[in-house]
Symmetry: D2
Subunit: 291 residues, 4 copies
């Protein structure tokens, strides 16, 4: 993955998908060039089977002649002509994140640690948990911490409170860092492709609860972790990143859990970095990852 260019200069990133047609790259590149945008990164992909075109292009805005608030208006004719789905991020404003966690805080710890090191370019608005345990960690890093215990009865009210907080803080992306509650369809619908989960198995193997126990009982020789966007279908959302580690008959269930911790935090960190750099384009239930 390229070193982030964002620290130095004002950069814009466009993600675009549309039915494949002739001249696409040329038209888009010309549009940017004619408005003073210097392309610093362009990656495209054509899926021939579906005849679909996908693009990520980043350009330096130093000499860009379109004001951010006028971009949509100017760009619309081009996007309409190609019947494109597109999204744009103009400028360097940091993403605002909320992290949801339950009792296992290793993924949370890792994200906080990486942010301190400058690996992520984002602000963490607050941490939400259904348990008080992660409070110590939140305090250590001086991040607001909210506890919302969840039961079948109070889920709707608690989610309403969470949504209020998320709205007030203008949160862009939610990270489920081993958050063991299922979010309601209503909640999920408010953050389409903006809730990043880590599941502690190599999906689609061992979806659902206790994946390490499932893996142990099946006797697999490799375990995995999967980071994906959350959709209404549990553990079925578009996959951003996966990785694995070898195990053997010598590993007890506790060993799987211990080894899995390292995997979970690495995979979630990589997925989060890809998401925050606007490198993930969702198409149907799959992703195009411009890394």
């Amino acid at each position: 993955m390229e070193a982030s260019v964002f620290h130095e200069k004002l950069t814009a990133v466009l993600l675009w998908s549309c039915p494949d047609r002739k001249g696409l790259v040329s038209h888009i590149a010309r549009f940017l060039f004619e408005h003073g945008g210097n392309i610093v990164d362009l990656d495209e992909h054509v899926n021939r089977q579906e005849s679909m075109f996908f693009l990520r292009v980043a350009w330096d805005m130093s000499d860009f002649t379109i004001a951010p608030d006028k971009f949509g208006e100017k760009f619309l004719p081009l996007a309409t002509e190609y019947r494109a789905h597109w999204s744009i991020r103009l400028g360097n404003e940091n993403r605002r994140l909320a992290i949801f966690v339950s009792q296992h805080d290793h993924c949370l710890q890792d994200i906080l640690w990486r942010r301190e090191l400058g690996e992520f370019r984002a602000e963490i608005s607050f941490i939400v948990s259904n348990h008080p345990d992660a409070g110590v960690l939140a305090e250590r890093y001086h991040i607001p911490f909210h506890v919302f215990p969840i039961s079948e009865e109070n889920r709707e009210q608690q989610e309403a409170k969470e949504l209020k907080l998320l709205g007030e803080a203008n949160v862009d992306t939610i990270i489920l860092a081993r958050y063991m509650q299922i979010l309601s369809p209503n909640f999920v619908s408010r953050f389409p492709h903006r809730i990043v989960n880590i599941h502690h198995s190599f999906l689609p193997a061992f979806a659902g609860g206790n994946p390490y126990k499932q893996a142990y009982d099946r006797g697999v020789k490799i375990i995995g972790a999967t980071s994906h966007y959350v959709t209404d279908l549990l553990d079925e959302g578009p996959i951003i990143e996966q990785d694995i580690i070898r195990i053997s008959h010598k590993d007890s269930l506790d060993d799987l859990i211990r080894k899995g911790r390292d995997l979970e935090r690495l995979v979630l960190a990589r997925a989060l970095r890809l998401h925050l750099d606007d490198r993930v384009l969702v198409h149907g239930r799959k992703t195009v990852v411009f890394d």
Copy 2:
């Protein structure tokens, strides 16, 4: 894995499992020592959760004082005392293999090539296929080739013919090298933990037909291959070996198939080598692999 010792000297290998008890290693080691067996390799494993003991021990038979045909009788009291499941291979007689294949012959090719290089210590008695395609390859390596086309109607008769051949050739182990027919429970029961299959996915993900298509449609970022013993439950047998390879949105279904070919042949070769070196001990639906 250790270099095979079999080329130099006459070696015996004992695989043993029983409920864990005190003094097990000591008793077995003493038994061998007292009969002139020089232990050249000993590996044991205790599963604490199930309180089970597993052992693989290999010894040099140069000065062993028990004749092969008397071993069972002499060893029985010890095995009975510990309520052990055990199997023994005395001497260096090569295993006799039969390879079953359908139309994709890359795994077959790889096994023949490795055997030519001396990677496997086994004789290939014959190749069976439900298609004539692999005949060219069989001929190239001078191995008898039998075609048994299979349909729902003739399965029973064809398997009877195959079983007859297997019996006549005294075949010990069957390798399903991308054999796309399901064997009947009757057939499978004749070769318990002696039929080695390669499934072209990371089981339990994508069991059943067309695993690469399933993987492509799900949008996973990693594909795998699994070698396992065949049981009556399709793709559910004890796993011997697995491995994976990274893919991306750039990979078409054809790319998955191409990349998977390399994976399948490596994983099957590793599993086969482990099996032929008596390094795999089946316990329930799992394996202990003494590598």
Copy 3:
């Protein structure tokens, strides 16, 4: 890696590197669009530290309005303006390969096998060896085979004969598939970045002779293989692809050699495929690999 597009349609591939400047992608894309070239794949990379721009672009030539023999003339002004190094491949003519091998023929075997499966898009003009051993394999695949034993005394004359053969057959790329002779600077200079070697170590570790022995003696826990372009400096050429495999104290030197074989043939095959698809751009002693 994307499925090769070459089977279906006439495609051109341009590789380009130059000092980074504004408007590069736009100009090149426009040039192609204005001459009827439909871009099917574009990947670029900017190295910020060196301020260098690298591009690979492939386009469909169905409606391309510049005849192949006029392309250079038409394209030159653009390339000159940006002080670019560039190379172009127009149309689908297969590359012509010569494979050099010594006594270990597993890499040769693997290349022949993959080509038979259609994994490579190339013609193998002939095989050269300093030993007669590979002749059997050459014959099996009906490929001309030439033996040129090499000694310090006759190297120059033998290379002259080889160069004559290579010229007559119009060979484009030479593959050193475990060829254990060092080519003279004169020979190498005739095929700049067109001789692909496989070295059986993780370079720069264990350059030179007997890398597995070196690895065994050092007690490393991982061994590797490296495919690189041959230059005058032994084992110092630009690296195309590397991979590794875990080993342990249990592995004898023979085990390293056996495990390494699998690694060597996979790494060489991947490098060769990248080279043949024009995905490798050499810059100084490094490569940009557009995979």
Copy 4:
């Protein structure tokens, strides 16, 4: 690796190496059995090339009839008979560690975090640094922190102070968690095979300073990290563990450093765990790792 058994019961671990001879396993197993030691883990390895025998055996001391302070006396005849090198750990006393660190504190952070989670069975006596930076982290985890700035002139005196501290705290093992000073031969000789270092390259590639810069300049496609015991020869000590991660031309030097951080802390943690569980046996400049 097996779940540590140490939490539950008093366990002893014997590491042993000697010239290979008949009856070794039997004799040792019988010795333990006859004194009431129940073997819970036994792993042996024979290096045939060197005709050397290596053993790790752990036993439950609940019914062991030899008092810890009498073990040496009782065991000596057996060890002498086989001319063995051996070491024993009786009982569950935690190892005492000192961690040395310079400015990069990610490995330190990781060790502290893992210990908090219970992954390591050890006490951290204190942290030493040549810079004050890690003090914050030490304080956060309530661990004594000592700063000893090092120059060519004061090295001897500073090491003397460090050795005094190490002696007073009865420190068993020193971890160099990215400690960028070279220890003097005198210092190293006090802790033979008890100083664990992490080097941020795949040794023997890129020994010495700035390995990521070296890797970047060479254009390798994979980077690594190596944990080894410190000896007088810089970066030449016996290797305990190594691992790698893929990189590409897209990765800047900063990306290598970032990706390497994850590698370094995982590799050091694995090596440390192996060391603390007495699973590493040094033989010459190589290790036998009973994992």
